[in-house]
Symmetry: C2
Subunit: 185 residues, 2 copies
DNA sequence: ACCTGAACACCGTTCAAGT
DNA sequence: ACCTGAACACCGTTCAAGT
């Protein structure tokens, strides 16, 4: 009648994330996760409703860390400096999580929960508010996030292959964004 | 000894694309494609090496059409007008191809061929060259593409859910980009 | 209350055999 | 030269049976 819990949801999320990062999303099979946490495949369904749900949980954990990373990069003193710091921390995080980053805004994986979405929007809005002013805060935040996400996802997908210096393109755009967001028109 | 070809690679690509657009990427099974083109599953492997290869072929066809769409939106007269036209054609195309667009810069699906990549870069470079000048052409093209791709992919993924007017954010960023790319510094 | 083995439906892919 | 049926390995998921 008793029962011994031999694994946990956190262990499954951690294992799944490790598998994706090491061998790619296709390698994330329920059996591979079960093996990694030391349980049989069918036992996983006590904790998650299925593979898709597990992927979403992994994505939400990664988002959480991304928000933390960009948040710590800000100091609230110089708006332009903070925008650079935000973008650079964003990009560095994506590079440190090459395989899981693409899950974050993946239409296929389904959207993350609104709560997570809202928390993740906070630091971006803070960064741009000082530059663009409150009336353009949301639009400016969307401009910055769209560019940063687009850039790193194209970069990670290998879409920048026509030569040139990718870092230079990053800096060029960063300068341009500061100019653009400082308009106050 | 003879042989009758009962289908074609183009028919398979078209069927696959239809399946993705109607029922999502997961619904693209080799059997579903075979059914759609009127052949048995095992026959598909005469024409494509596997499911992954078929997805890449679909992605390349979609990219080709995207390039054509943005190309036709340009008139070469007014640089700022062309940038707007480019971006709006880009976004409209993505909305018309909600399910297949996410394949384009998908790290998972693997990169499209360098040849396709080069052809697709041409119109963007043309658009920004007039504004940003030749020395910043590549960086400016990357800024514009990154933003446009990031914006529409986040939009399609349902990432813009914190209220506000998404169209307004699009226009705001478009204005900002024109400002930023016109610097000539 | 959690774990297990067995089972099911469904994949992608291969290949010998047909015409 | 292309098509087919059968087979293989491998999925995700369910569920009755164990402890």
């Amino acid at each position: 009648m008793p029962a011994v819990a031999r694994t946990s949801t956190e262990a499954m999320v951690a294992a799944g994330r490790r598998i994706i990062e090491h061998d790619g999303l296709d390698a994330l099979t329920m059996l591979a996760v079960a093996d990694a946490v030391g349980v049989r495949g069918s036992s996983l369904y006590k904790r998650v409703s299925g593979r898709d749900a597990l992927v979403v949980m992994i994505a939400e954990q990664v988002i959480g860390e991304l928000v933390e990373a960009v948040d710590q990069a800000l100091d609230g003193e110089d708006a332009a400096r903070d925008l650079r710091a935000f973008a650079n921390a964003f990009r560095a995080f994506a590079h440190r999580n090459r395989a899981t980053y693409p899950l974050l805004f993946d239409a296929q994986a389904g959207p993350v929960s609104p709560a997570v979405l809202e928390r993740s929007a906070a630091p971006v809005r803070r960064v741009v508010a000082a530059l663009a002013g409150p009336e353009h805060e949301l639009s400016a935040a969307r401009m910055l996030t769209a560019w940063a996400h687009g850039f790193v996802s194209m970069e990670l997908a290998g879409a920048f292959q026509l030569g040139g210096d990718v870092d230079e393109a990053w800096e060029y755009a960063l300068d341009g964004l500061i100019t653009a967001l400082s308009r106050h028109d």
